[in-house]
Every structure is written in C-alpha cells, then in structure tokens.
Subunit: 405 residues, 2 copies
C-alpha cells in the first residue's frame, strides 16, 4: 500500500509554488512558477533514481526501469499547470500519486516486468493557451507540434517562446515513446461521488468537447447621444449568444454542458456602446451524435443572429475532441483493484477533459476518480480528503501492478 | 468673425498628443498625455496674454481681462480628456473654440466689459474615473472634492494621486470663482443635425443620467464536470440584466437610452464557470419622471433576478444628474447669434452629458452643437467639417459678446 502521508506532504510542498491568499494555486502553464514546479518534481524523481526524458512540447517522462527490456512502460501521470484561480488537487494529485506509486515500489524493492513511468503533460488546462490538453494532444498526434507552438496567450506570447524561456523544450519527438498502458488518478471535479458516498469512481468515458472563439463586431458610439434604433451594440448581440449556449446544453441533459467562461469587451468604457465583443464557448456531451447536434444548433443560432442583427459574427473552433470511452481492460483493471482493496465505488463519466483522453489514442487507458468537496474544482476552494487521495493512489498502484506484471 | 483655419490648426496640433493609428485620440484623464495637452493649451493661453488659475480638482481657467472690474467673467470651455478610443473633436473643439474667441478679440483689439474666460474641466469623460464630469461637478458642488479625490481607476490609482503626479492640483477652492454666463460649443455626437441638413444645433436641454456599477456573484466551478442544474453561473445572470437595460430604454422612447459599456468577467478562463461579473449600467432620459421610472424598473428587475437566481447582485449608483434644461436667456442668445449669422439651425436635445450641465447650476448656461459625421462619437472615426466648426465658433463669439457687453 502507498503512503498517504508522504503523498499529502509532497502535494503541500508543490502547492507552495503559486499558492494564493484564498488557499488555491495560480500556476499558469509555461510561467516561471510552472518551471519551478517542474524542477521540483523532477528533483523528486531523480531522488527516486528515475531517468528523465523531455519531449519537444515539454512533456516530462520519469522512468523506473523494468525487468523485461522488451516491454513498453506502464505510465501514470497528469499535469501540474493550474487555472488562474485554481485548486490544489486538479492534476497535481495525479502526478504525485504516480510518484507515490514509484516511491512505494522503491521502498518495498518491487521489481516490475514493464518499466513504470510518471508523466507530466504540458498545458492541460488550456486556460492560457489553446488547444486544451496540449502536451498529450501533440503526443498522440491530435494536432501538430507547429500548431501548438504557434498558440498565443492574450498578451501575444507564443507557446514556443514561453517553453523556450522556461527551458523545457526537450529533445524527444513527441509520440516517439511507446506506452504499454496509461492510468490517471484525478479528483472528480463534480459532485457525484460525494453525493453517493463513494470513495472511488471508475471512469468508463469522458465527455467530448468543442471550444470556440466567437467575435461579434458592432459599432462603437456614444452611449448618450446615439438613439436606440440606430445602435449596433456588439455586447447586446453577444449576450443573446451567451444565453443560447446554456439553453442548448439544457436541452441535451443529463450530459450536455454549455459555458461561456471568457469575455473581452471593447473598448470597455462605460459610456461607449461596445464595438466588439470576443468570448469563448465550451460545449460538451457524452456521445458524438449529441455533441454534433449541439454544435449544429449553435452555428444555426449564430447565423440567424448575424442575419437578424446585421452585425458580423465570427465563430472559430479552437479545440475539439470527441467523446472518449476508455479501454475495457484498463477500466476493468481499475474496478478489480478497487474491489480487491474494498473501497465503495461506482462508475462516473468524466465531464472534464483529461490527458488520458489523448493517451487513450496511443495506448489502453483508464482513470480513477476520488471525491472532491462539494464537487467544486477550477476554484481556489477546491478541496479533497487525504484518505480519499490515499485510496485513489492505492487503486492506481494495484491497477498498474496488474498491467506491469 | 473667428478664424476657422487657425482653430483647425490648433485642433490638429493638440490631437497629436495621444493620436491613435486609426485617426482618433487616446488621452485618458490625468495621464501623462493629459498633462502634455494641458501644458500645450496653457502655453497658447499665455501667448494670448491670459492669466491662468487652477483649482484643487485641476480645472483650468484662463482669463482675458474686462473693462468693468465688478463683472463676473463670461466663460466658455469644455474638456481635453478623451475616451480610450476617442475622437478628435469631443471636448477639444469646445476648448479651442473658446481660445479662438479670445484670439479673435485680441486680433481685433475688442475690449469687453466683462472678462472672458476659457475653461478646461478635469475628467469630463468619466471613463477612467467616476463620477463623470468630475471637474465641473466638484466646481458646482454636485459632489465633494474628497469624493472626487478618492475615485479609483481599474488599476487602483486614485484621482488625487494622479492629479498630484501630473502636477495639476491648483490652489483655488473649486467653485470660488464667479461666472457671469457659461457657453459650451460641442459636436452633437448624434445624427440629428446631419440628417436634417442643419449647421447649428441650439441646445435647450441635456438628458438626465444615472450610472451604476452592478456585480453578480456566483460560484466558480468546472465547465465540464459541473452539471447544468447545479451551476451558479454569474455571467448567465448578468447577461439577462444587460439585456434588460436595453429593453427598459426601448420602452421609453424617443429619449430613453440604455447601455452596458464596461464588463469585467472573473476568473475569465474558458473552462471555468464565471464566479463574478462586474459591469456598468448607463440609463438616460429627458425628464425626471421618465428617468425615475427607468431606474425603478431596473432595480425591480434586479431584485427579481436575485431572488429567482439565488445569486447575490449588488447595484450601486456611481454617477447621477437629473435632466438639465438650460437658462432661457443663454439659449436665446445662442439662437439670436445663429440667426444673425444666417446659419441653418434647429433645436437639439443633448443625449451626452456636458460640463455645461454642472456649470448651469452656478450660472446661466447654454450650448452650441455642430454636426459630426454619421452622428458617430466616442469612436476613433469621429469626424467633423472645418466649416461647421468655424460656424459653431462664430456663434460662440457672438453669444459671448452679447453677454459680455
Ligand atoms: N481536468 C481538467 O480540469 N481539465 C481541463 C480541461 C477541461 O476543461 O475539461
Ligand atoms: N460629451 C460627452 O461625451 N460626455 C461624456 C459623458 C457622457 O457620457 O455623456
């Protein structure tokens, strides 16, 4: 069994980097804080005798050698970048749980047939740069390295610039790295496990996702002297779309999701009618047909709104992955490990995207969820119980051992 | 008659300070650019032999002595701060038209009984700091100097700090400065004169205005894993209010106005349900009863929305002035001057607020409008014809002379 206390202490240590006043973490991808966090975890890996490899998109792989040189590594990991007002567990738990598996194996001098690897994927959150799940996306070939390198943040800095700046452009070509199986432990980020009183969620699938940038262009004019009928108010048109995003999601329950998380209003002066509004759209659902239907309704609504308002509306897809069912062997391995350890469990579909979605394209993959307080994540108040994290880590250990032999 | 070419050249000179690539001006109040513009215009005033006085809120008064020491000055002015994406004429025209009146009087060695003064009021635009029309508001006692000093911009800098930094905290107590009559020339900032083919607008009144800050507080949570029914999405609630602001204005035509110009969404990450949205509300109408009704409907809607959504909604009034009819003598003086000069004219109610609104509380006041292209203002493409500006300046000269004797 793993050492929950050691896991917790490492989490606390890591979360000093970018700690916020409200008890959360702000450690945006490819910032100096991200570099510090990478350096810290790599140091821990080296202390456990792991060999380090870094690829061209900055993904980090830390390997514990196996007994059988012909076998591909059994990998576990997640990410250590966070949201601008992020929590302490999202991603961090998965990486440190994988490290704790290694520490446990070292402590008990367990020799596995396949190597064991800890993965730290670059820019999972997608908050600073799109596409989301960038490192694992490049790794599995969902999009190109060049596409990822070219992504810019709101200040116009590119991924390549920032990755170079923090010194994490590695040598390895992304994807030239065989994986025998991939597991990811993560907090649920939703309320289901807590509501049902379960400790482990076995994750059969992840919702598919489409992200868009939408821009509405009107005409800046004076808020006092411009009569209402003559206005071309970009914000008024944008808000009807923002509301429709949620209305569409509500029509395709229980798995439909619709969110506008980012808004940039211009010129953003209180007595100027907005001339341009840019905003993000995030829609998700559990199967391709439903997600396609939602996308269709969104584009139709936007076309209708453009015609009706006479304003120009641009809609651009910036991230997309279809719903992802995990490999039945890995799902079964997680379930067996959970049952063996005797934890109350249930199946939970993941509403959040994870690097496991892209890992699943190149290897059998599975996920392990543990509860988080009130189902809240992407919030500084995100919280989880040490004993639940330890349970998730134990399930990870046993599922990995089953595959690693 | 005034010299339209000289007026135009001074406008061009002034508008080099903060000139934007798109042909507009960005010269926010109390910035270094504002200081440069103040210095330039004061230099011109000194060259005309004017004596300069500055008050504690940074209002600048440049005086040409009169023959009768017992008489209060006849004043004309406006402002030289601009919107973030402002035009070249809004405010600047009024100040330089007043200066052109002085230059014309000097050139023709005209001695008036009352002194003539050029006023440059601080922070008319209200974009960086509220309340709007700050300098004239403090001058007339609409709100206190301390209240104005304490106002902060989005970066947390205060008016007092910034006014001190640019060196424009004067000695004079605001308002301890008698005014015989006040005139302000301004572009219309609306489409009426152009549509009707008139050159001069005689302004009988200005719409009353209420500005609010509204804050909706929900709960930040994950955009993928949080089921729709459990969300407390601050942006979704805010957008219903944003739409109602416009709906209310549409119900009280032809003078009702409703605008949301400023929006700040938080944490503003595409996969985080917004936890807090702050936005501005600007409503206006032509008489107190209608403006009160609009305010009443707004607060009622917000109460209902707070109850219905369960989210906290804070509404705070940050600027207010009632509809302002101008003094009949001044309105008549403007009309007489226009008729004497033979310009096609009509009455136009001002949708925009002006320093004249506050000057009207301490002296008889009146305004002169000239057309602007397509009625567009608070936009870098704001435009006006030199011959219209010259006409407005001539009307200003004659109206002032009538009052100054
Ligand atoms: N797990 C997680 O927070 N992923 C970020 C990508 C998403 O929005 O689902
Ligand atoms: N004239 C002008 O643009 N004033 C700014 C205040 C307002 O919004 O009316």
């Amino acid at each position: 069994l793993t050492n929950g206390k050691r896991l917790w202490q490492s989490l606390e240590e890591l979360n000093k980097i970018g700690a916020t006043a409200k008890g959360g973490v702000k450690r945006l991808t490819l910032t100096d804080l991200d570099r510090q966090a990478r350096d810290l975890v790599i140091g821990w890996g080296k202390a456990e005798g792991l060999s380090i490899r870094i690829d061209k998109i900055g993904n980090i792989f830390m390997r514990r050698a196996g007994g059988d040189p012909s076998r591909a590594p059994i990998m576990a990991g997640s990410h250590i970048d966070t949201q601008p007002s992020g929590g302490r567990f999202d991603g961090n738990f998965g990486v440190l749980a994988a490290l704790e598996v290694v520490r446990t194996l070292n402590q008990h001098q367990v020799q596995t047939a396949a190597p064991i690897e800890v993965a730290i994927w670059t820019n999972e959150e997608g908050s600073r740069f799109v596409p989301v799940m960038m490192g694992s996306g490049v790794f599995c070939g969902a999009f190109s390295l060049e596409h990822a390198y070219a992504a810019k943040d709101v200040d116009g800095k590119s991924v390549l610039e920032e990755l170079t700046r923090i010194g994490y452009v590695g040598d390895e070509t992304p994807g030239e790295h065989p994986i025998g199986a991939y597991f990811e432990a993560h907090i649920e980020q939703g309320p289901v496990l807590e509501d049902e009183g379960k400790i482990i969620g076995v994750v059969p699938a992840v919702l598919g996702l489409s992200w868009y940038d939408c821009t509405v262009t009107g005409l800046e004019a004076h808020a006092g002297s411009t009569p209402m009928p003559l206005r071309r108010d970009a914000l008024q048109v944008a808000t009807t779309i923002m509301q429709e995003v949620v209305a569409i999601a509500n029509r395709y329950q229980p798995y439909g999701r619709g969110t506008v998380g980012f808004v940039q209003n211009s010129p953003n002066s209180r007595n100027v009618i907005p001339g341009e509004v840019k905003f993000s759209i995030d829609i998700r659902n559990v199967n391709k047909a439903l997600l396609d239907t939602m996308q269709g309704e969104l584009t139709a609504f936007i076309e209708k709104t453009a015609q009706h308002s006479g304003l120009a509306i641009k809609l651009e897809q910036v991230s997309h992955f279809p719903p992802c069912p995990f490999h039945e062997d890995c799902v079964a391995a997680v379930r067996r490990a959970t049952e063996k350890l005797g934890y109350p469990h249930m199946d939970v579909v993941s509403g959040a995207g994870h690097d496991a979605v892209y890992a699943a394209r190149v290897a059998p993959a599975g996920m392990i969820f543990v509860p988080c307080k009130d189902g809240i994540s992407h919030n500084e108040i995100e919280d989880a119980k040490p004993e639940h994290l330890e349970a998730g880590c134990n399930v990870l250990l046993h599922a990995m051992l089953e595959r690693a032999g």
